[in-house]
């Protein structure tokens, strides 16, 4: 038995005598005796060799804070990084609610005991449904990439087909996840991920290349709006109708913060819609704030193929009262299902609560103002940067919050430019020069509501300085 002279603040039964009292009740002579199921030669031979204990809160806090302070953050520095995690304003009320111990510590409970959490979940789906103009929204999965992966697998099960078309200019981070979900080519149930060319003038999907690759073996077309490199897909209706004609599903990825100003995907023919939840009131947390949603129309062929939690409003035994619980369509007789429905487990459900609070604070006007503010400042930034000698904006007038900045004519590599900016307290855009996109020395810049006109002028001024 381990020896600890002082009781541990997180273990009531570490107080002197507590273990012995329980052993006496059990009738066991020693702690070893309760481990009798484990054969002697299974116990580890090497004793634990861990860093010294930080036995007080004072020491623990000191250790954590002194380590974390070695980080530089995007509050002290001016950051233009996006691409999967974006710096947006998080209202203080959101932080208060997600910090509530009831929301942090609940594990499952019952539909009655954890009613408040279940209602919050339903309100997340309801409000996101209102932004997407879709009737079914699943609680978030691990990430946007995972949401796309599950959606593609849903489309495979629905159509019985195993080829999916996606843009050539896809985010490599998400693409890697998608390919994991689609399995290696050696496996029978592998899904082929085929890339569709991009129109070099607009950054949008090349419709004629799409047409040439469409066919009756295509399970789905996936496109993002706005796309990875920031461009708005104006041909969404056309793409969706081409897919429908071929019997394929249209899967779309959207930035929920664009939906105050951009058309709801439910209104342009999307069948399954995915997107990130981090922009909806979740801090970046070094990528630890990501989550991904999946939504669709309320048709059984979709509803029966979701992998995770669908929260439905229902009546209770008391007249006029409502509660919430999981819709479990799996018990219906849909025996012809070809494959299993993937898996779920712990996910990112706390961020559903963050999203619910965030969307209720913004309301319809908040989303409209926010969308306008973001697109205005992002275009302003693009326009100002275009004036810097040697810099070109690749698709200047068709983006939402992210845009590609090309440095080819500056004679400097993006990595060099970013090093120089970092010395001056600025995190330049994501270096995309090694992403096999024929865009040369380019960076993906992200501008949001947190960037003021003054911040943008500072970026421009600093770039002029370091490039000269």
């Amino acid at each position: 038995m381990a020896t600890n002279t002082r009781a541990h603040p997180w273990m009531a039964n570490s107080a002197p005598g507590a273990i012995q009292a329980m052993l006496d009740e059990i009738g066991a002579s020693s702690v070893d005796e309760v481990f009798e199921q484990i054969p002697k030669d299974h116990f580890r031979s090497a004793p634990l060799d861990l860093p010294p204990i930080l036995s007080s809160e004072v020491e623990l806090k000191r250790d954590l804070v002194s380590k974390l302070k070695k980080n530089e953050d995007c509050e002290t520095n001016l950051s233009f990084l996006g691409a999967g995690v974006w710096q947006h304003h998080v209202p203080a009320v959101v932080d208060e609610i997600v910090g509530r111990t009831e929301f942090a510590t609940n594990v499952w409970g019952s539909y009655q005991s954890d009613h408040g959490r279940n209602q919050s979940w339903f309100e997340f789906s309801s409000q996101l449904g209102a932004l997407l103009n879709l009737d079914v929204v699943q609680l978030p999965v691990y990430s946007w990439g995972c949401a796309i992966g599950h959606s593609i697998r849903m489309a495979q099960r629905i159509t019985g087909r195993s080829r999916v078309l996606i843009s050539q200019l896809s985010d490599p981070e998400r693409l890697s996840v998608i390919q994991t979900y689609c399995q290696p080519t050696e496996m029978d149930s592998h899904i082929e991920v085929q890339q569709v060319a991009v129109d070099p003038l607009s950054g949008r999907m090349d419709i004629s290349d799409l047409a040439s690759k469409m066919g009756d073996d295509v399970a789905a077309v996936y496109f993002e709006n706005p796309a990875y490199l920031g461009t708005i897909e104006t041909e969404a209706v056309k793409i969706a109708s081409m897919a429908r004609f071929a019997g394929a599903e249209t899967i779309v990825g959207v930035d929920p913060l664009s939906l105050g100003v951009m058309t709801a995907p439910g209104d342009y023919g999307a069948d399954i819609v995915t997107g990130p939840v981090q922009p909806l009131g979740v801090h970046m947390q070094c990528g630890g704030g990501v989550g991904g949603f999946i939504a669709s129309r309320d048709e059984e062929k979709y509803v029966l193929e979701y992998n995770g939690f669908l929260v439905s409003i229902v009546e209770t035994m008391k007249k006029g009262e409502v509660g919430f619980g999981l819709a479990c369509p799996h018990q219906n007789s849909y025996g012809s299902r070809e494959h299993g429905k993937d898996w779920t487990g712990n996910s990112t459900y706390l961020w559903a609560i963050a999203g619910a609070v965030y969307m209720s604070l913004l309301g319809p006007e908040g989303f409209r103002e926010l969308g306008n503010l973001i697109v205005s400042r992002a275009r302003y930034a693009a326009k100002c940067l275009a004036d810097v000698p040697g810099i070109q904006i690749v698709w200047p007038n068709s983006t939402f919050k992210e845009f590609v900045v090309n440095f080819d004519d500056t004679g400097k590599k993006v990595a060099e430019v970013n090093d120089l900016l970092r010395e001056r307290g600025i995190f330049g855009g994501k270096d995309i020069s090694k992403e096999n996109n024929a865009l040369g020395q380019s960076a993906l810049y992200c501008v949001t509501e947190v960037h003021t006109a003054a911040d943008i002028r500072r970026l421009v001024r600093t770039l002029k300085e370091v490039l000269s």
Binding site: W108, S110, G308, L326, C328, H330, G335, H339, T344
Partner: protein, 369 residues
């Protein structure tokens, strides 16, 4: 929903006096001579009392006298009485009572497997539900206990939305003569429509629940897709084995053994001799289900598949289908074979892969019994 209730006043008599069932008047008389006291009426009353408590004044149709009526005394229920006036002490009473209730939605009966067989034979597709009282209860038509049966009746009457129906619950019975000689021989006698509770359960921390029946039919589809067109597939009785025929778009004979070649049934309800003829010059495989509780694979209810065929197929030639639920609920975690040839049984002993779903197998131990 409208419920009819039939009590078999002799069900369960044998158990108390060491008989293994009371099918037929001889057994009943013997049991009574030995001093047996029927429990079925009392158990029916537990269920009916629970119904009256949950739904006071519930409307109910009952068979006359000790076949129903007598067990409701003092309970708050609104009764309609029907059925035979004079009892013969045989299955005829039960069947006649059911025929008089044919316009009900569900027949609730108090009895065991024998009663279930009698009821199912005349129910003509209406739902049935057993209040468990018999010595033998291998059929999938019983509530777990009389109270649970009463609770289901309450839901049927007052809250039918909480109830689903399954259409293919197996009505099983054991050959009582054989059983009295120490041989356990369950047989499938038919399928019945049975009410089940919609589960208001704690759903799944781990996500959607497995749909066993769905899993089995997609597994069957996989088997059909991989069928060799030259091989003879012998399809055993029962829903699990027959899901393969169903997946091929064929209609299997419910209780019998069918033969498939080239994804088509070429002979329905065949015997050993015809199977042997069909198997001449062909590879053969045997598609089998598993009986609930005992886990019989061969030699019970599928004796049409004789030892010669089994020997030719070998352990590798058996294709076994069962839901994970059924396998985990066996009284012993093993499958039993009794081909009548001890050396063959011994050859078959060992582990087999039972198909429980598409791309899902369960290793099961085969034992001779």
């Amino acid at each position: 929903m409208q419920i009819g209730v039939v009590v078999n006043p002799f069900a369960g008599l044998g158990g108390a006096v060491g008989l293994k069932g009371t099918d037929g008047p001889d057994s009943v008389a013997k049991a009574l001579r030995l001093g047996a006291r029927a429990k079925s009426g009392e158990r029916a009353r537990v269920a009916l009392a629970h119904l009256a408590e949950r739904v006071p004044g519930a409307e109910l149709t009952l068979a006359r006298g000790e076949m129903g009526e007598d067990w409701c005394e003092g309970l708050d229920l609104s009764l309609t009485i029907t059925g035979p006036t004079a009892l013969t002490g045989t299955a005829r009473d039960t069947k006649e009572a059911v025929r008089a209730m044919r316009d009900r939605d569900v027949i609730v009966f108090a009895g065991g497997d024998g009663t279930a067989r009698d009821i199912a034979s005349v129910a003509g597709g209406i739902g049935i539900l057993g209040i468990p009282c018999g010595v033998k209860m291998h059929s999938g038509v019983f509530g777990v206990n009389p109270r649970a049966a009463g609770a289901m009746m309450a839901d049927l009457v007052a809250n039918p939305k909480r109830v689903d129906f399954v259409e293919d619950a197996e009505v099983m019975d054991i050959d009582e003569d054989a059983l009295r000689n120490g041989v356990l021989a369950p047989r499938l006698y038919g399928l019945a429509r049975v009410p089940i509770s919609r589960s208001l359960m704690q759903a799944a921390k781990g996500g959607p629940r497995l749909n066993s029946a769905g899993a089995l039919s997609s597994a069957a589809a996989e088997i059909v897709a991989e069928m060799d067109v030259e091989t003879l597939y012998i399809i055993g009785p029962g829903t699990s084995a027959q899901s393969v025929a169903k997946a091929a778009g064929q209609t299997a004979s419910t209780l019998g053994v069918d033969a498939m070649i080239g994804r088509k049934i070429v002979a329905h309800d065949v015997d050993d001799a015809s199977l042997l003829r069909l198997a001449k010059g062909r590879k053969l495989r045997i598609v089998l289900g598993v009986t609930g509780q005992q886990g019989f694979l061969l030699g019970r209810g599928n004796q049409q598949i004789g030892a010669k065929l089994v020997r030719r197929a070998g352990r590798e030639g058996l294709m076994i289908l069962a839901t994970e639920e059924k396998l985990t609920q066996l009284s012993q975690p093993r499958l039993l074979v009794d081909t009548g040839e001890p050396d063959l049984d011994l050859q078959l002993a060992g582990f087999v892969r039972v198909t429980t779903g598409k791309r899902r197998k369960m290793m099961m131990r085969i034992d001779s019994c």
